[in-house]
C-alpha cells in the first residue's frame, strides 16, 4: 500500500470509513454550490433592503460599502412611517399562526393518540346516514332557502334517531385505519375548493376578516398533518407505562397528560414548528378570508407591488422581518425537526 501512484491516492479511498480525496473534493464542491444557491437569493434580499430606489434601478450592486452606500430608508419607512400598518399585520400573523398552531397540535394530538390506543368501530350505516342527511341539509338550505339553524337541528335529530335505531344493524364497520385515512385525505382537498364555502359561511355569521375566522380555518387545514405526524410518535411510545398507570386507576386523560405528552415532546416540537411555518406563510386562504383588520404578513408583502411598480426595497425589509423569527426558532429546534419528519415519513 505504501507506494501507490498519485492517481491511486487521489481516487481510491484510504480506508473503509474515509473517502478518496478526489471524491471528497467533489462532494464539498457540490454541497457548497448548493449552499450558495440557497443563501445567495436571501443575501440579495437582505442587501436590497438597504438600497435606495436608484441603486436598485441602476443595475446590480453586490457588496454594501464597496459597490454602494447602504441606507436605512426602507427600514425607516416600514417601521416609522408605516408604523402601525406594519405592526398590525405582524401581530395578526403572530396571533393567528401561534393560536391556530397550538389548537391544531392539541386537538390533532388527542385524536392521533386515541387512534393509536383505542379501537374504534364506526358502523358503515351510520356514516352513510350522516352523509345522506348532510347532503339533504345542504340541498335544503341552498335550494329551498330554509333557515340554516332549524334545518341543522332537524338533521341532527334525525341523525341521532337513525344512528341509534337502524344504524346499529349494519354489519360492516370502519376501523381506526379508515378513520385515519379519512382524516389525512382531507389534506388532498385543494384549499381553493373549500375556501369559497368557508368564505360564504363566515360571511353569513359575520366573522369575515376576523382573527377567529382565520384561526379556525388554519387550524382545520393543518389538523390532518398533525394527526399524520403525531400518530407515529405515539405509536413509538412503549405501552407498558400506560398500562401500569391504568392499573393504578389513572384516567385516560391523566395518562395522556402526565405520561404520554412528556414522552412525545420531540415529536410535538417538530410538528409544532412545521405547522407554525405553514400557518405563518399561508397566502391563499388569507387572501379570501381577510381583507383589512385580520390581514397577515404574506398579504402585506404582496401588497408592496404598488401601481408605481414593485417596491423592492420595502418588500425586502418585510421578507427579512418575516423570515427572522422562524429561522431563529428552527435553529433552536433543528434536531427535533429532522427526527420528527423522519418518523412521520417512515411509517406514514
Amino acid at each position: 500500500m505504501r507506494d501507490r501512484s498519485l492517481f491511486q491516492r487521489m481516487f481510491e479511498p484510504p480506508s473503509l470509513t474515509e473517502m478518496a480525496p478526489a471524491s471528497r473534493l467533489l462532494t464539498y464542491a457540490i454541497l457548497i454550490l448548493w449552499a450558495i444557491v440557497v443563501l445567495f437569493p436571501l443575501y440579495w434580499v437582505f442587501i436590497t433592503s438597504f438600497k435606495l430606489p436608484f441603486q436598485v434601478n441602476d443595475g446590480p450592486d453586490f457588496i454594501p460599502f464597496v459597490d454602494y452606500q447602504p441606507s436605512g430608508h426602507a427600514w425607516r419607512y416600514i417601521f416609522v412611517e408605516l408604523g402601525n400598518d406594519t405592526l398590525r399585520p405582524y401581530m395578526n400573523s403572530v396571533i393567528i399562526a401561534l393560536t391556530s398552531t397550538v389548537l391544531a397540535v392539541t386537538i390533532g394530538s388527542l385524536a392521533a393518540y386515541a387512534l393509536v390506543r383505542i379501537q374504534y368501530n364506526v358502523k358503515i350505516g351510520t356514516v352513510a346516514g350522516f352523509i345522506v342527511l348532510l347532503t339533504a341539509t345542504v340541498f335544503a338550505i341552498t335550494r329551498f332557502g330554509t333557515p340554516w339553524h332549524i334545518t341543522a337541528v332537524i338533521a341532527l335529530a334525525l341523525f341521532f334517531f337513525f344512528a341509534t335505531s337502524f344504524g346499529r344493524h349494519f354489519k360492516r364497520s370502519l376501523g381506526n385505519n379508515d378513520i385515519l385515512f379519512w382524516i389525512i385525505s382531507n389534506r388532498i382537498l385543494p384549499p381553493v375548493v373549500a375556501v369559497l364555502p368557508i368564505y360564504l359561511m363566515f360571511q353569513r355569521v359575520g366573522l369575515l376578516d376576523t382573527h377567529v375566522a382565520m384561526i379556525a380555518t388554519y387550524m382545520a387545514v393543518n389538523l390532518p398533518i398533525v394527526v399524520w405526524l403525531m400518530r407515529d410518535f405515539f405509536a413509538g411510545i412503549p405501552i407498558d407505562l400506560e398500562e401500569s398507570a391504568e392499573i393504578d386507576g389513572a384516567s385516560r386523560i391523566r395518562i395522556f397528560a402526565t405520561i404520554v405528552l412528556p414522552l412525545a415532546r420531540p415529536g410535538l416540537a417538530a410538528t409544532f414548528l412545521l405547522v407554525l411555518i405553514l400557518a405563518w406563510n399561508e397566502y391563499l386562504l388569507a387572501l379570501f378570508i381577510s381583507t383589512a383588520d385580520a390581514q397577515t404578513m404574506p398579504l402585506l408583502v404582496a401588497a408592496q407591488n404598488a401601481t408605481r411598480g414593485p417596491q423592492w426595497w420595502y418588500m425586502s425589509v418585510l421578507i427579512v422581518i418575516m423570515i427572522a423569527p422562524i429561522i431563529l426558532m428552527t435553529i433552536l429546534l433543528q434536531k427535533h425537526i429532522a427526527r420528527g419528519l423522519m418518523v412521520g415519513a417512515v411509517k406514514g
Partner: protein
C-alpha cells in the same frame, strides 16, 4: 354492543361497569379525544365540499339589492371542457405528428402490459380492476391532452399544473436525494449544511416569488452581467411562455428541495452501517451499493415524501400569481390560480367547477400513486 351509543363512534372493548360522573367521562374519553378533530374536519372540509359541489352547478349573478343564483346543471363544466373556456382549462389543440403518435402508442402499450401483468399475476379482483381502469383512463387522457397541447398548441391551466407537479416534484426529489446522499457521507460540517439547506422552506412563498422576480431581472438583477454575456440582455423571460414557466418552476424547486433533502438525509443516516461496510469490503461499486442497499432501505420514505409533495404540489398558486400573474396570457396559470381568477371575476360557478376538476385529478393521482407505487416500495423492504 353493550354500552351506550350516542354518537357514531363507540369503543369495542366493553368498559368495566363504573358509576358516577367522573367514571362516565372516563368512559367517554375515546369519543372526546377524536370528536373535536372529526367535527372540525366535517365543518371545514366535508361541508364546504358539498357546498362547493352545489356552487359548481349554479350561475352567480349580481342583481339589484344582492345577487341571484340560477341552477344551470352541468353547464359550468361543459363550458370548461367543450365551450368558451376550453382554451383556458384544456388549452388549444394541435394535430398529432409522428412523434406524438409514437409516444402515445408507447404509453398505450405500457398500460396494456400493466393490465396483462395484473390479469396473469393471480391477484385479480374486481375493486383492483376498477381502480386500475380509473388510473389508466386518467393517465391516457392527460397524456393525450399534454401531447396535443404542448407541442404546437397552447397548454391550458390543467396541463400547466401537471407540468409543475411532475417536473417540479421529480426535480426536487432528484436534487434532494443527490444532496442527501452526498451529505450522508462521512464529511465534516454536516450539521451546518443541514441548517443552511433547510432555510428555503421557512420563507413565505410570496416572498420567494418576489425574490425570484428580483433575481430573474435581466437588466438590474444580480445575474444581469451573465445574461448580457450570453447575449440575452434584452430578453424578457416574462413574455415567453416556457421561460416564464421555468422561472416559476425554479422558485418552487428552490423552496421544496429542502423538504426532500432533510427527510431523505434522515433516512440515509438511519441505514444499517454494517451492510454498507460489508459491501465495501466485497468491493461493490457505488452504483451497486446504491441500487442494492441504499435504495431499498430508503424507498418507503422516498415514496411517502413524494406522496406528500404530490398532494401539496397540485395546490400551487402563490408563485405564479405573484411572479407572472398567470401570464403571458394564461401560460403560467395553475388550476388553483385559474379558479381564483374566476372567483375574482364573480364567476363563482366556474371557479367551483375548476376547483372540482383539480380535486378529481389530484385525488386520482395521489391515490393511484399511493396504491400502485407507494405500497410496492413497502413490500420490497419487507
Amino acid at each position: 354492543m353493550p354500552q351506550t351509543q350516542t354518537a357514531a363512534i363507540s369503543r369495542t372493548e366493553p368498559a368495566p361497569p363504573k358509576f358516577g360522573l367522573a367514571e362516565w367521562i372516563d368512559q367517554q374519553t375515546g369519543k372526546l379525544f377524536v370528536l373535536p378533530a372529526v367535527i372540525i374536519l366535517l365543518a371545514f372540509a366535508i361541508f364546504p365540499l358539498l357546498i362547493s359541489a352545489y356552487l359548481s352547478l349554479i350561475k352567480f349573478k349580481l342583481a339589484t339589492g344582492g345577487f341571484s343564483l340560477n341552477y344551470v346543471g352541468l353547464r359550468n363544466f361543459k363550458k370548461l371542457f367543450y365551450g368558451s373556456q376550453q382554451y383556458h382549462l384544456l388549452g388549444t389543440f394541435d394535430a398529432f405528428g409522428i412523434f406524438e403518435w409514437t409516444v402515445f402508442a408507447a404509453a398505450l402499450a405500457l398500460v396494456a402490459y400493466w393490465f396483462f401483468r395484473f390479469f396473469t399475476g393471480g391477484y385479480f379482483n374486481i375493486p383492483g380492476f376498477i381502480g386500475r381502469l380509473i388510473t389508466a383512463s386518467l393517465f391516457i387522457a392527460l397524456l393525450w391532452l399534454t401531447l396535443a397541447t404542448v407541442f404546437g398548441g397552447h397548454p391550458g391551466s390543467l396541463v400547466v399544473t401537471l407540468f409543475y407537479v411532475t417536473v417540479g416534484v421529480s426535480l426536487q426529489f432528484g436534487i434532494g436525494l443527490g444532496l442527501a446522499l452526498l451529505c450522508g457521507q462521512a464529511i465534516r460540517g454536516r450539521n451546518a449544511f443541514r441548517i443552511i439547506f433547510f432555510i428555503p422552506l421557512m420563507v413565505t412563498p410570496v416572498g420567494i416569488a418576489y425574490m425570484f422576480r428580483m433575481l430573474a431581472d435581466m437588466q438590474r438583477g444580480p445575474l444581469a452581467n451573465i445574461w448580457q454575456w450570453f447575449g440575452l440582455g434584452e430578453f424578457s423571460w416574462a413574455a415567453d411562455p416556457w421561460s416564464a414557466r421555468m422561472v416559476v418552476l425554479t422558485g418552487d424547486t428552490w423552496q421544496w428541495v429542502p423538504f426532500m433533502f432533510i427527510v431523505l438525509l434522515a433516512a440515509v443516516e438511519n441505514m444499517p452501517r454494517d451492510q454498507l461496510e460489508a459491501a465495501k469490503i466485497d468491493g461493490a461499486g457505488s452504483w451497486q451499493i446504491f441500487r442494492d442497499i441504499t435504495w431499498p432501505s430508503i424507498a418507503p420514505v422516498a415514496a411517502t415524501i413524494v406522496l406528500i409533495r404530490l398532494i401539496e404540489a397540485f395546490k400551487i398558486i402563490d408563485l405564479p400569481n405573484v411572479l407572472t400573474n398567470g401570464g403571458p396570457g394564461i401560460a403560467t396559470e395553475s388550476l388553483t390560480l385559474h379558479s381564483f381568477i374566476a372567483w375574482r371575476t364573480q364567476d363563482l360557478g366556474g371557479s367551483a367547477a375548476v376547483g372540482y376538476t383539480l380535486l378529481f385529478v389530484s385525488t386520482v393521482t395521489c391515490v393511484s400513486f399511493f396504491n400502485f407505487i407507494g405500497q410496492k416500495t413497502r413490500k420490497t423492504e419487507a
